[in-house]
């Protein structure tokens, strides 16, 4: 069975290669090929899953070693895979959701002449993401890590003719690169500390390393996670990434790639467990992003950007949970999976809405769409209920556990983190209700565009609605399936070492509080957007609203410091290079030229003048000889 692991990666990789190199001949059939290979990967994943279930909990991990990648005296990196429960979870999520989104894209990208290439990129993404989660060492993980970054770059910038898309793609890649820097430094630290960076040996040797080193490694891994998972302070790219086609937003920027940071932290659990300071920073980053994303999500009128804010916030939950240590790892992953279902569903719903609305994204121009798109409304609605944590749906189970675990952290920290997660739950309820109300309820507010084409909202084709329905199914039931009886925790336990947290107040009280704040959030949103008509032009809003619309000024800060500062720096360096570095050389050349011009005058052509210099030279020689003798 182990030998199948490589095929997991290989199938979509083959698809990408064939589709990208195949040329126009594949334009007609390329999307089917891409979808097929994603599905093949999914079924292989299922087969391996079945195989894994057949084994005992402790020996479910599988390994496959293909060949040595890099080998330089002590520095050994293999192309080798490790499939354990954690990876398996991701494999199923990636290939499952991935296949659904492939199917969805067949309809969504129907009219795009470069659909073949789109599917090639999607396959490339799936392959890279699988490589990321299947790697058995950090360097191969880095390979996948950069690979998904590349796929993300290509897909965000898929509509390259739009300058905004190209800029957003570049920005995403660059911000991610800052995170990648963290990952590479972490690998270097591991190499100098442990002499290796393969998962097994590193995790086995964490007891022997100094805590300072481990904290440094942890922080660098966190930096990497921040980049990939859009956590503060590297979150700025995610909003812009919504320039990509909506299936991309659903697959990469909601369900899978952005959760890679969570995977990284959970995977490196042994390191973080031994570095409490790093863990604390992880929880702080998670908590800050949780609120940050939620606040941004409240202010955006662009449906995809509102959802992007929500994604950021939900991943903040996961990161926070991952920072809590063994009491939180399993819940982080559980929330990750449920989030994968409902957020992908929400994005696909948003895509469906846009599809029916001539690619309009401004929610202020929607309204009352439930009548025109019943299936979209239903699936979106279920996803909505799941994300706000409506009791019984999947978000309820996973989020509630995280809030509990946050309180269980203990001490002041526990109270602060718990309160933040509760507050986040309230805001989540608020902004998601806002999205729901603005899009599907109220009066219709759409208008003809500049060219006079009034949108005719209509339900999307089957290829789009079926994935939405399936994802909605997952959004409803996954949480209960995982949560009841701690099934998911038991599944992951051999990898992440689960510990039961003991919150200072009873679990029931926390659940009650969660539901209560959710209701409050929904209520406020209803008062604001359900009872009153929504203005088509956004009101000016409070200072906070305006700041939130601008991503809490984080982008402005980046722009002022990095873009403007960087531009000035490069310009001045170009100037320095030209005038100073080159100038010194050119100046030397000029002075040599001037000197020789003056020396040339000595060559006046008079033989007698030359004779004088000969004679003088002889005199100097004699003097030198005499001096040498005297000395």
């Amino acid at each position: 069975m182990e030998n199948l692991i490589a095929l997991l990666v290989g199938a979509p990789l083959l698809g990408a290669a064939v589709l990208l190199c195949g040329g126009r001949r594949l334009d007609k059939s390329g999307h089917w090929l891409g979808t097929l290979l994603a599905a093949v990967s999914f079924f292989i994943g299922l087969a391996l899953f079945a195989d894994m279930l057949g084994k005992g909990a402790e020996d479910r991990a599988m390994h496959q070693r293909l060949f040595t990648w890099i080998s330089v005296d002590g520095f050994q990196a293999d192309i080798a895979f490790q499939l354990d429960q954690l990876s398996m979870t991701f494999v199923l999520l990636i290939t499952g959701v991935g296949t659904l989104i492939h199917v969805y894209s067949i309809g969504y990208m129907e009219h795009d002449e470069r659909r073949r290439r789109f599917f090639g990129y999607l396959n490339l993404f799936v392959a890279a993401m699988l490589l990321l989660v299947l790697a058995d060492n950090f360097l191969l993980l880095y390979f996948g890590w950069e690979g998904v970054g590349l796929a993300s770059y290509l897909l965000i910038g898929f509509w390259q003719h739009k300058p905004t898309a190209a800029t957003a793609a570049k920005k995403a890649f660059l911000v991610n690169r800052v995170g990648d820097m963290g990952l590479s430094i972490a690998i270097m630290l591991m190499f100098t500390t442990f002499g290796t960076f393969a998962f097994g040996p590193v995790f086995a040797a964490t007891d022997e390393a100094s805590e300072g080193k481990l904290t440094a490694i942890g922080l660098m891994l966190l930096l990497a996670a921040c980049g990939k998972s859009a956590q503060v302070p590297l979150q700025s790219w995610l909003g812009d990434a919504m320039e990509g086609p909506t299936p991309v937003s659903a697959l990469i920027h909601a369900a899978t790639m952005v959760t890679a940071g969570v995977y990284l932290i959970v995977r490196s659990a042994d390191i973080f467990n031994a570095a409490p300071d790093a863990q604390l920073v992880v929880t702080v980053v998670g908590a800050v992003t949780l609120l940050f994303g939620a606040i941004v999500g409240c202010a955006k009128d662009d449906i995809k950007k509102a959802l992007a804010g929500s994604t950021m916030s939900q991943i903040g939950y996961m990161i926070l949970a991952a920072g809590l240590g063994p009491i939180g790892y399993a819940f982080a992953i559980m929330h990750l999976v449920t989030h994968g279902f409902f957020k992908a569903g929400l994005f696909l719903g948003a895509g469906s809405v846009m599809h029916g609305m001539n690619d309009e994204v401004d929610m202020r121009r929607y309204g009352g769409l439930r009548k025109y798109m019943p299936v979209t409304f239903a699936t979106f609605g279920l996803g909505y209920l799941a994300i706000i944590g409506f009791p019984g749906l999947s978000g309820f189970f996973s989020k509630d556990k995280i809030i509990e675990a946050a309180f269980a952290k203990g001490g002041t920290e526990g109270w602060i983190l718990g309160s933040v997660t509760l507050l986040g739950a309230a805001i989540t309820a608020y902004y998601m209700t806002r999205v729901m109300l603005m899009t599907f309820f109220g009066e219709k507010r759409w208008q003809p565009d500049a060219e006079g084409h009034a949108p005719h909202p209509h339900e999307s084709p089957k290829s789009m609605t079926i994935p939405m329905v399936l994802l909605a199914f997952g959004s409803v039931f996954a949480g209960a399936f995982f949560g009841i009886g701690d099934r998911f925790v038991a599944w992951l336990e051999p990898v992440t070492n689960f510990e039961h947290g003991h919150p200072p107040i009873s679990a029931g009280a926390i659940t009650g509080a969660t539901v209560a704040v959710m209701v409050i959030g929904v209520g406020i949103a209803y008062l604001q957007y359900g009872r009153r008509p929504v203005p088509v032009v956004a009101p000016r809003g409070s200072l906070l609203t305006r700041a939130a619309r601008r991503d809490l000024l984080q982008d402005d800060f980046n722009h002022a410091v990095f873009v403007t500062g960087g531009t000035h720096l490069t310009r001045s360096l170009v100037y320095v290079d030209h005038t100073l570095v080159d100038g010194v050389v050119n100046g030397t050349a000029a002075s040599v030229g001037g000197l020789s011009g003056r020396l040339r005058k000595l060559q006046n052509g008079y033989a007698r003048t030359y004779a004088v210099s000969m004679f003088g030279g002889t005199a100097v020689l004699i003097a030198a000889t005499l001096l040498m003798r005297a000395v």
């Binding site: 990208l20 890099i70 005296d73 520095f75 390259q160 690998i187 270097m188 630290l189 190499f191 500390t193």
Partner: protein, 523 residues
């Protein structure tokens, strides 16, 4: 006596150069095909060298040795270690593509008389450079190496000054003036470096009594040749200066942007991917091999300069308006990495640096040649003159992107392996330097993507609308290069196998050991 394989490998392009130059004026195409065939024959020979080299065997293999100038103990002494083999392979691999890419670069303009035969000259000069570069990778006699190191400048001077880029913003006279400025600058910089090296070569002879690298290194190792500390340092500086100019290391780099900007794209590839490698190669072989103590003494300063090169080169690249100058500054940044790897004095660093030389050669060739194809279509080197090329020429844009991604060291492409090894090797010895160098990967992404975004994406510019996509000849240049990039990115073993033993030898030359990992040290 065994078959002089190394001599033949270098002699084939040399003889080919003469034959190509002798082709009659009217038979231009024949000259091109002849040059291509010769370069392919050289590639085959290089492959034989690669195959016959035994990684586990002696340090220098396939050696040849004949007396040359008896009075000064100068010998015609050849031999290759793993590093040399890798670089010979790189050179022999790239030249056919350079020739193919420059197929029409030297076609004579109509106005000239029939006796005017630039095409023959162009290809003959390229083959001449190939011969000299290969021989310099083989030379184990310091004097022989010096001669080649300097002689290389002559054909390069004519290639830069005589066959400029036809895509020039200004008038013809202006272009010619800039070109000759670039060529003279190239020549002067390298001559100054070479002169200082000459002094050091003579100094070495005075101290050691012969020019043989192997003998001197051996004598130094077993203590029979003592050098005063100051003497060793001066000699080291003399050698290093010349190599740093060639490499080029900040602040001796300013000739490279001019030269690469004014030369045609294939010649620019020749400069940065092949000729400059002689500089870094020589640092590894001569500076470290002959002057281990002085190398260690100078390391801190060189590491700082290399770091400046990395960051500075990348930042200045971001600010460039000219595609080829941008690639030139990117190369300066990459050479910073190579030098950093060499002087980190760790196996990872030096293996990485050697791989980097090979990989940088291939990746820059891919990027620069595609850029050259693009420039020849539009007739402009300015980034601002492009936009939306991706829409009209997707294959060109795609290959350009892959070249760019290789430049920014994306995993899966060859440069990643080497860059990461250099970083790890550096970090193990100098953590702060390692971290500063790591910022280079962000900056590399910045200049590459900015370049790609401004030229390839966005709305299609009017002048760009009619650009054709890559032609079969151009595809034949680009596709194999990309294939090699991917192959070496995933499976660099063939290279690391030959390079590792050579690096072990170099490490023992400088008597350095890799830092022990903390965990093992604790035990």
């Amino acid at each position: 006596m065994s078959f002089p394989l190394l001599t033949v490998t270098a002699a084939v392009p040399a003889v080919g150069a003469i034959l190509t130059a002798a082709v009659p004026a009217a038979r231009r195409t024949a000259a091109k095909w002849l040059a291509l065939l010769v370069s392919l024959a050289t590639l085959v020979l290089a492959a034989v060298v690669f195959a016959r080299f035994e990684p586990g065997g002696d340090r220098y293999q396939l050696t040849e040795s004949h007396a040359w100038i008896k009075d000064f103990g100068v010998r015609y002494e050849l031999g290759v270690d793993g590093i040399g083999v890798a670089l010979i392979a790189l050179t022999a691999l790239l030249i056919p593509f350079v020739i193919l890419a420059g197929w029409h670069d030297a076609d004579p303009l109509e106005t000239k008389s029939s006796r005017w035969r630039p095409t023959q000259g162009f290809f003959a000069l390229i083959l001449m450079v190939e011969a000299m570069v290969i021989l310099s990778f083989e030379a184990t006699d310091v004097f022989l190496f010096y001669i080649l190191f300097e002689a290389m400048l002559i054909p390069m001077y004519f290639l830069i000054g005589g066959f400029g880029d036809r895509a020039h913003a200004g008038s013809d006279e202006n272009a010619a003036a800039q070109r000759s400025y670039a060529a003279v600058k190239f020549l002067l910089y390298n001559l100054v470096g070479g002169l200082i090296m000459l002094a050091a070569v003579i100094g070495l002879y005075v101290v050691a009594g012969n020019f043989s690298l192997t003998e001197i290194a051996e004598a130094r190792a077993n203590g029979s040749l003592e050098m005063a500390t100051s003497t060793e340092r001066w000699l080291f500086l003399g050698f290093f200066f010349a190599f740093a100019v060639k490499a080029p290391l900040w602040p001796l780099h300013t000739w490279l942007p001019n030269a690469m900007g004014e030369a045609t794209a294939p010649v620019a590839v020749l400069i940065t991917a092949v000729v400059d490698k002689v500089g870094t190669f020589a640092m590894l072989r001569f500076c470290l091999g002959l002057f281990p103590e002085a190398s260690k003494w100078a390391t801190p300063a060189i590491v700082v300069l290399a770091l400046i090169s990395i960051v500075y080169g990348a930042l200045v690249a971001v600010g460039q308006r000219d595609i080829k100058r941008l690639v030139a500054y990117a190369s300066i940044s990459h050479f910073g990495f190579i030098i950093l790897g060499i002087f980190a004095m760790t196996t990872q660093g030096q293996s990485g640096a050697t791989l980097y030389m090979v990989n940088h050669g291939i990746s820059t060739a891919a990027l620069m040649l595609v850029a050259g194809f693009l420039i020849s279509r539009r007739g402009s080197r300015l980034i601002a003159d492009y936009g939306g090329v991706q829409k009209v020429a997707p294959v060109l844009a795609g290959t350009f992107l892959i070249g760019g991604l290789a430049t920014l060291s994306l995993p899966g492409l060859a440069p990643f392996v080497s860059e990461f090894l250099v970083l790890v090797g550096t970090y193990a010895r100098y953590p702060v330097a390692g971290i500063i160098a790591t910022t280079g990967i962000v900056l590399a992404a910045l200049y590459t993507l900015v370049l790609y975004q401004r030229t390839m994406t966005g709305p299609v510019k009017e002048e760009v609308r009619t650009l054709p996509d890559l032609r079969p000849r151009e595809l034949a240049v680009v596709i194999p290069l990309i294939a090699v990039l991917i192959f070496l990115g995933v499976f660099p073993k063939p290279l690391t196998d030959v390079v590792n033993p050579a690096v072990q030898h170099t490490m023992s030359d400088v008597q350095q050991k890799d830092p022990t990992p903390e965990v093992e040290a604790a035990k």
